[in-house]
């Protein structure tokens, strides 16, 4: 370099006073040789030479104040490097490179966002009346919350106590169920399966899972996804069964993959893992996605028949109620058999009544087999 300038001495100190030069003009110096002692507001610092060379000129004498960035020494026989400007200094890039990453225009999350709409005055009113704006819906022209809305919410809170906005799984359940109610055209078929031929220790859930796999193979249209917007159907080869699991935090539906090709033991272990993960709240989101059909086995609790609600884009869900002993007519004689009440809801936009009935028939036929003939 031609000019050695007073470097930044740290701590943002803008200047230093020259105490003593250790070299003279005309001297040969080597790298790291001490050139000058300077005094800053904080310390006395010795400044070493950045390079080998001959000193052509010293800027300033003992007692002079030099500012950071001002020339201290001129070296002889050096070209001044091209700093790319006639005025000022452009700081140069650190070595290395980066890749530019940007979104042209707004981020996807901005485009899809729904935010509470309220004027600052309404926000202030809500704060004063302790009303959570997220818990009320606006009646204003553009859906914004009006002072009246806040006042009404405050009155309701006073009379009936505060509301609690839904969170997490419950919020998701509310959304999904509303979506289903708005979109799906559900029809529910009810029928009983006669479990008379079963051995005493049969695993009801496993039998149900296998029967669903069988019925899906027989009538595949119930094992599909339907997009009502584009009116497009996606039929699945594999059957991924959503299994409704009730918890005190709400309803979870983990997905048991590929039930058509796995052994009973494998399925049982898999299901137990899913249930444990749900109970411990450690289930990853990926394990809750991708079901092609759903089983809701409320028979462990109470209830005979139900009208289970389909979760779009699926098109069918099976409900199984409490197994009971019931008189049935067998060859003109009354016998007491164990019956499992079944409720199959299907989306009539996708499947016909005949397809659904054949599905339920296949399911019951498979379910009524003795266990040994299962696979």
């Amino acid at each position: 370099m031609k000019y050695f300038k007073l470097p930044d001495l740290g701590e943002g100190l803008p200047e230093a006073d020259i105490l003593e030069w250790h070299i003279q003009e005309g001297d040969q110096v080597t790298t790291d040789q001490v050139l000058v002692s300077v005094e800053t507001a904080k310390a006395i610092i010795e400044i070493p030479s950045p390079q080998d060379g001959e000193i052509a000129h010293l800027f300033g004498q003992a007692g002079d104040t030099i500012h950071t960035g001002e020339p201290l020494i001129e070296f002889a026989n050096e070209e001044q490097e091209d700093t790319g400007t006639v005025v000022g200094e452009i700081s140069a890039a650190e070595p290395g490179t980066s890749k530019d990453s940007f979104i042209i225009g707004a981020a996807p999350s901005s485009r899809n966002h729904q935010q509470v709409q309220a004027t600052p005055a309404v926000r202030a009113l809500a704060q004063r009346l302790q009303v959570d704006l997220n818990s009320i819906s606006g009646t204003g022209q553009s859906g914004h919350i009006t002072p009246d809305d806040v006042q009404k919410a405050a009155d309701m809170n006073r009379l009936h106590g505060p509301v609690e906005p839904l969170k997490g799984v419950r919020k998701q359940m509310a959304r999904t169920m509303s979506q289903s109610h708005a979109e799906v055209v559900p029809v529910t078929l009810f029928e009983d399966a006669d479990l008379h031929s079963w051995p005493a220790d049969s695993d009801i859930t496993m039998r149900l899972i296998q029967a669903i796999a069988y019925a899906c193979a027989e009538v595949p249209i119930l094992n599909s996804w339907f997009d009502g917007q584009s009116m497009a159907l996606r039929q699945h080869e594999a059957t991924h069964l959503g299994v409704a699991v009730d918890t005190d935090k709400g309803l979870f539906v983990p997905v048991l993959r590929d039930i058509g090709t796995r052994t009973t033991d494998d399925l049982r272990t898999g299901l137990e893992c899913l249930r444990t993960d749900v109970r411990n709240r450690t289930i990853p989101a990926s394990e809750l996605q991708g079901a092609t059909i759903t089983l809701s086995n409320f028979g462990t609790l109470a209830g005979r028949y139900a009208t289970p609600i389909i979760v779009p884009p699926q098109v069918a869900i099976l409900g199984a109620g409490v197994v009971r002993e019931h008189p049935v007519a067998v060859n003109g004689q009354l016998e007491i058999h164990r019956l499992m009440p079944l409720s199959l809801t299907f989306d009539h936009r996708v499947a016909t009544g005949g397809e659904a009935a054949r599905f339920l028939a296949a399911l019951i036929k498979q379910l009524e087999q003795p266990f040994d003939e299962q696979l």
Binding site: K99, D100, F102, A106, A107, H113, A118
Partner: protein, 327 residues
């Protein structure tokens, strides 16, 4: 082919590409020829394209602008360099009274597809008239586009777009970051859109809006907020005229909170216009007052004081935290 280059090199690369693509593209300005421009933005152009397409001009900015308008009106694509933004004022009569209104005045018979490049902004230890940011003056003139890149890749794409554009474009280059970092820039000749913001970081808690060199400090502030668990969205305005109010609104309607950062003086700055748009159209989503972190309403100080004048990362952080804690 990908180049690992600084922003000023990206400007040079885009100029070369545009001059290769069209013989109509002409570069003119003070020292742009053999010298390569004081910041070396036009280096090698004279050797490659000759003195008929790379013109050294006298020190007469009004003439540079006027010459460019004449060339543009008659079918050339002049890219003029004004050495520092502080020298742009002599061009204003030409730019404001002719370039910006040529199409309107001739009822569409003539247009003025010229680009006026000028380095701007402080932080390089230069005198005050080499350090100011007067983009708001230019943004206020109807008929002009005012574009400000803030990275090598965006400088390349935006300059190509400015040269392709049928309108007069003022292309302001934040010289403090001319050589601040290197990026891989693909010399593919692809222009970026001229009238859109760029979302540099997607976030959900607060929107930080800036442009030019202050993008550096704004991204640093976003990093520090992230380490505190706050998700900041960072938007590079890029086109200060016309403003992409849709993108700005979409972001602030999501986050409800916003800090606008610019180097220019506060009063009547582009930040004030953005603030007005957000208040007019985004009022119902705002959860805190719109905040601005800006330079002062004073003449840009000489260089020993310029760091006190320029907003820094800490200023942005403090403003963001005030905005976030407002309830």
């Amino acid at each position: 082919m990908s180049h690992n280059i600084t922003m000023v090199e990206a400007v040079n690369l885009a100029l070369k590409r545009a001059m290769h693509n069209s013989e109509d593209v002409v570069v003119l300005g003070e020292d742009v020829g053999p010298n390569g421009g004081v910041f070396r933005a036009t280096v090698d152009l004279r050797d490659e394209f000759g003195p008929r397409r790379v013109l050294d001009t006298p020190l007469a900015e009004a003439m540079i602008a006027g010459l460019s308008i004449g060339m543009a009106a008659q079918g050339l694509k002049p890219v003029a360099e004004i050495q520092f933004m502080g020298f742009i004022f002599p061009t204003l009569e030409q730019i404001m009274c002719h370039a910006a209104r040529l199409r309107n005045r001739t009822r569409g018979r003539l247009s003025c597809p010229m680009v006026l490049r000028a380095p701007f902004g402080g932080g390089i230890h230069a005198p005050e008239h080499h350090s100011e940011s007067t983009e708001a003056l230019l943004a206020h003139i109807p008929g002009l586009r005012v574009v400000i890149p803030s990275s090598p890749a965006r400088a390349y794409g935006l300059l190509l777009a400015a040269i392709e554009c049928p309108d007069p474009v003022i292309f302001l280059e934040p010289k403090r970051i001319y050589r601040a970092s290197k990026q891989a820039v693909e010399d593919n000749g692809i222009a970026l859109p001229l009238d859109t913001c760029f979302t540099l970081r997607e976030g959900s808690d607060i929107t930080l809006i800036s442009w030019g060199a202050m993008i550096t400090e704004t991204l640093q502030a976003a990093d520090q907020l992230a380490s505190q668990g706050i998700s900041a969205e960072v938007i590079d305005v890029a086109s200060v005229s016309p403003l992409d109010s849709e993108t700005l609104l979409a972001s602030v309607q999501k986050t409800g909170r916003c800090v606008i950062i610019h180097e220019a003086p506060r009063s009547g700055g582009v930040g004030a216009e953005i603030s007005a748009i957000l208040a007019e159209k985004g009022l119902l989503a705002l959860q805190a007052p719109i905040a601005r972190v800006t330079g002062y309403d004073t003449v840009m100080p000489y260089y020993r004081l310029e760091q006190h004048y320029l907003p820094n990362t800490q200023d942005i952080l403090e403003s963001a935290q005030q905005t976030l804690s407002f309830s």
